[in-house]
Amino acid sequence: MTLLLGAFTIGLILALLALGVYLSFRVFNFPDITAEGSITLGAAIAATLLVRGCGPVLATAAGFIGGLLAGATTGLLHTKCRINGLLSGILVMTALYSINLHVMGKSNMPLLNEVTLATKAEHLATRLAGSSHDLNVFGWEVGIRDASMLVAVLLFISILGLALYLFFRTNLGTAIRATGDNPQMIRALGVSVDFILILGLALSNGLIALSGAMLAQYQGFADVQMGIGMVVWGLASVIIGEALVGSSSLGLLITGAVIGSVLFRLLVAIALRWGLNPNDLKLITALFVFVALVAPQLLRRLKRPKVVTTPVP
């Protein structure tokens, strides 16, 4: 049960990563690798501030802002310096590795006795429940720490998802979506495509860094290596989400990314439980995304009627 709750919670936290990846890869069609650095940046900033005695809300917000800046840098490199999009992301990601080490001062920063969002949620739940005993939910014993964290994260993601949905329906939000859909058109309607791309990448990496900040507090440490493979992870979540809801309406797509992230984390947790070697995890994630990208093309090719070639006399 604890395993399941943990998978749910991490899945929800990584849903922020999925939303960020959705924004860059799907809305802008921009392969943004910055994510691998910015998720660690969010974790590193939050963890360092927490260790220095900063409040968890402030520390998390600072992580988010760090991500905003990282994304904006990638956007600036791409739009103003005319560097290829993929390369811009790689440059910033590589630079962030050193920056993250400098922020933390070491490669791994444990959060042992600090007041984090996780301990805050636990504290609040204990006060509400009146005791710190395990809860009995449908006959299962559930640790109050796990349950409170899950509820808190679920609430937070729901609010954030709704906010994102509403934002995408404002004048600015529709302009962002249109920029990904048809840059020529939105330019002719008076929108600076460069500015919107910088803004969008900032927002995307802000969400991803927020995910990192929360993940560090949930798992109790920040590590300079924690970003490796995260882009593919986010992409896998987005693909699962799209397969579930179909890529139609905006609200469904956002919900799909969140559900996809939770589902993917659950699948991974179950696979690990059944004895999957953790070392193979990234290989399998990459294979999964590969298959998900190639399968639709293959299916289309199979469906297409065979061309009848008439022999040349």
Binding site: R169, T170, N171, A178, N182, Q184, A188, G190, V191
Partner: protein
């Protein structure tokens, strides 16, 4: 209204692909006038339109529009003054967004875009009325994705979007060339109607001599990045499609000479 002063543009200068696309184009347009630009392929007519729209900056020369010197303005900044319809029906609309959302984007052409709702209630009502006026039955499909519409429908909507806020200048770049004859006809009729109703200052590029003769109040013919003929007033009123074709034939004959020789001959004898 629009004043072009001696515009020059060379693409890929100093390379074997060097193209001298505009060679000293000057043009003045009165408010409310409708100028049709014709010319052979590569004559610079679309380049001229793009120079005005700001797709690129001209090498030398000045562009004045509605009292602003817009020569160094970026493309998106000029959009405040200019409405555009492209040749490709897919260029003017965002395919995965709904008809209503596309129009809402156009309703803020050149204005600040903040946190207000894109599709507020008042706008929705106005959308329905103005889309109904297109007579295409699209008013009941406002929430459908634009990608599901035909080229003609998309081009009609693009036209509506370009003129939703009255532009100081409307640019039509062969906007019916990619449509089937029936849709082309419909879009031309709609263009005429909108331009008349709002008295829009218009620049239109076209390949169709029929359109050139029947629309607008002035025709210019371009060749090799220069204005070759400029027909207005009675001369314009008398012109028939055959006359324009005749002038094209004239150009073609001249082209058969070596371009350099042709230029020399023209300088010496014309």
């Amino acid at each position: 209204m629009l004043k072009l002063d001696n515009l020059y543009k060379v693409f890929h200068p100093g390379t074997p692909n060097e193209v001298r696309a505009l060679r000293g184009v000057s043009l003045g347009l009165e408010p409310g006038s409708f100028l049709v630009i014709i010319g052979t392929n590569g004559s610079g007519k679309s380049t001229l339109l793009n120079a005005v729209a700001g797709t690129f900056l001209v090498d030398t020369g000045r562009i004045n529009l509605a009292g602003h010197n817009i020569t160094r303005w970026s493309e998106h900044r000029r959009a405040r003054l200019i409405g555009r319809v492209f040749q490709n029906p897919f260029s003017g609309t965002a395919p995965s967004m709904s008809i209503a959302e596309n129009l809402a984007l156009a309703a803020r052409r050149g204005r600040a875009r903040g946190m207000g709702w894109a599709l507020h209630k008042r706008l929705r009502g106005e959308l329905r009325d103005r889309v109904r006026a297109l007579n295409m039955g699209l008013e009941n499909r406002l929430d459908n994705a634009i990608g599901s519409l035909s080229g003609g429908q998309r081009q009609a909507l693009t036209l509506l979007m370009a003129t939703w806020l009255k532009p100081e200048l409307l640019l039509l770049d062969e906007h019916t060339a990619a449509l089937d004859p029936k849709s082309a006809d419909q879009v031309i009729r709609l263009s005429h109607e909108i331009i008349q109703r709002h008295k829009l200052t218009t620049l239109m590029v076209t390949h169709s001599m029929q359109q050139a003769v029947h629309l607008g109040d002035r025709i210019i013919m371009m060749n090799r990045g220069e204005v070759l003929h400029d027909l207005s007033g009675t001369e314009r009123a008398r012109v028939r499609p055959e006359d324009l074709l005749g002038r094209f034939e004239e150009v073609r004959r001249r082209e058969q000479l070596d371009p350099a020789t042709a230029d020399m001959l023209r300088l010496n004898y014309v």
